[in-house]
Amino acid sequence: MIQEIVAGFSMGCIYALAGFGFVLVYNAVGAVNFAHGELVMFGGYFGYAFSTHLGMPLWLAFVVTLLAMAILGILFNQVAYLPIRSRPVSTVIIASIGMSILLRNSALAIWGPDPLKLNSFLGDSVIKIGAAVISRHQLLIFAVTAFVFTGQSLFFSRTAIGRKLQATAQDQEAAKLMGIKVTRMINLTFVLAAFLAVIAGFLVAPLWFLDPEVGLAIIVKAFIAIIIGGFGSIPGLVVGGIFLGLTEVLVASHLTSEYKDVISFFILITVLMAMPQGFFGEKIAEKV
């Protein structure tokens, strides 16, 4: 049982890590970006390209990937969000789905269909704690999730840029009057989302491997975690992710693996029927 809980926790943290960037963009500019999974995937792929093809040490590859993804984030914003930001939310969603198809197939063209592995910062080794086995990489995932979780809330509440971002999120017109450069803030949002995608990518890729479909797989799970936790809520995302991860592993282990996803969905839907706003509700009014 402990083993399953460890696994469920680590899957939950992965869902949360992938969801952080999605929630950031949603909270800051109100956009639902379904291509965020592909950004996570590209974070991993760039890391693979820099570390394996160009032979950089992993930390250097990480830094260079941050830069590369910052550019991709700005490009993404300039192409698929900024021109349509005042349009209906569904328009933005469809554009992001288009970007997701574009990025997924670009990855297929560049890196091919074979799954690739990005090495972990801490290698492949495992530690035995009592009856349970836990890998060093899983410990890293727990630590980074906790770090990003606190870092993100501190960033928004304690730093000037964070406050400016929040002001922009709440009322772009008012922010403009206060002298905040809105376009710059939106660009910054996408750069930060890309950074979060890189962090997620570097942590997901050693476990999930990189193939052109992995972005889709991860965003679906992250999206479920976001909804179950309460759309836009960061604590909700983490709790929702862990809830989902635990449900999946425990159902597969103790009930049925054949119908595990059916039962997981039933549990999720039941939770939603009881709490129509997810675990933590929603700060901002509904946007879709």
Partner: protein, 315 residues
């Protein structure tokens, strides 16, 4: 959108073009196939058009209704003595019931949260089809589904199938139109703009949403039945989330909530994808770019742009 003289003329012209269109493509199995697939997905897109265009809800579970329609039609035509048309009717009713079932949570759960319900619905249907092999034959699927027949007339050729699909597109359009003109259609639109205000005005959100979802299920089930008997072979792979997302894209690229949007969006994307095939393994990149392009330059879909142009021409 009254029956203005101008509208009638336009409808007659479009109708005429659509009627004779396949005669030019009769010898090309490929173009006839694209036309027929487009036709089937147009019916499916009308279904989502109701939910998104009239209630403002997003569904990524439409493959579920589509699958119910397909499997029930196939099962009845293969396993019983029932003819195609009664089977299709039963299948669409089954899908409509599933739609009504999905409509209940829609009154309680809104916005993003509802998207999860639809995702769950679509996946649950697919997983049941996949695993319940005593009934659905599992991954081997149902094969050799007979083509539709009406008396001694069999819709075996792609050419004849076109007119069958066309008939159902017309039925779908007429039902959409009459729903919009009815009391319930107005209630739906008022719910879309503001549920609280609409409820205060005496609109019953539950009945209105259930009718909408029932109709949407009906259309999607219809499309599924047409698909199954057209392609002759169905298996769980065809009913994944991918399909649901594609239908959502088709709806919004065409222009959600408009009468012609589903036709234009679906046909545009089907043709775009096939046309880009000459780019070999790179064509899907441009397909994605095409969707982004449409959304940037036609944020309200192709129909949105058409409307803007026509209103500018008038003024």
């Amino acid at each position: 959108m009254g029956f203005k003289k101008k509208n009638v003329i336009i409808a007659v012209i479009i109708g005429g073009v659509v009627m004779i269109l396949p005669i030019f493509f009769r010898d090309s199995r490929y173009y006839m196939n694209i036309l027929n697939f487009s036709g089937i997905f147009i019916v499916l897109t009308y279904s989502l058009n109701l939910i998104h265009g009239y209630l403002g809800l997003i569904s990524i579970g439409h493959a579920g209704f589509f699958a119910i329609g397909a499997y029930v039609t196939a099962g009845l035509t293969m396993g019983t003595t029932l003819n195609f048309f009664p089977s299709l009717l039963i299948a669409s009713t089954a899908a409509a019931l599933a739609g009504i079932l999905l409509g209940f949570p829609a009154t309680r759960i809104g916005g993003h949260y509802f998207v999860l319900i639809t995702l769950g619905f679509g996946e649950i249907v697919r997983l049941i089809i996949l695993n319940w092999k005593e009934v659905t034959n599992g991954t081997n699927g149902l094969n050799n589904i007979p083509p539709p027949s009406f008396g001694s007339w069999v819709f075996a050729s792609r050419f004849s199938y076109y007119y069958l699909v066309l008939f159902f597109i017309l039925v779908t359009m007429l039902l959409t139109l009459s729903l919009r003109r009815s009391k319930y259609g107005r209630s739906m639109l008022s719910l879309k703009t503001g549920e609280l205000a609409a409820t205060a005005m005496g609109v019953n959100p539950l009945t209105t949403k259930l009718i909408n979802f029932g109709m949407a299920g009906l259309f999607a089930g219809l499309a599924g039945g047409l698909y199954a008997s057209y392609i002759g072979s169905i298996s769980p792979e065809a009913f994944s989330v991918d399909l649901s997302v594609e239908v959502l894209v088709m709806t919004l690229v065409g222009g959600s909530g408009t009468l012609l949007g589903p036709i234009i969006g679906t046909t545009f994307l089907m043709v775009l994808k096939e046309w880009l095939r000459f780019l070999r393994e790179y064509y899907m990149i441009l397909y994605g770019a095409g969707i982004v392009f449409v959304m940037i330059f036609m944020p309200y879909g192709i129909m949105g742009l058409a409307k803007r142009i026509s209103s500018q021409l008038k003024s």
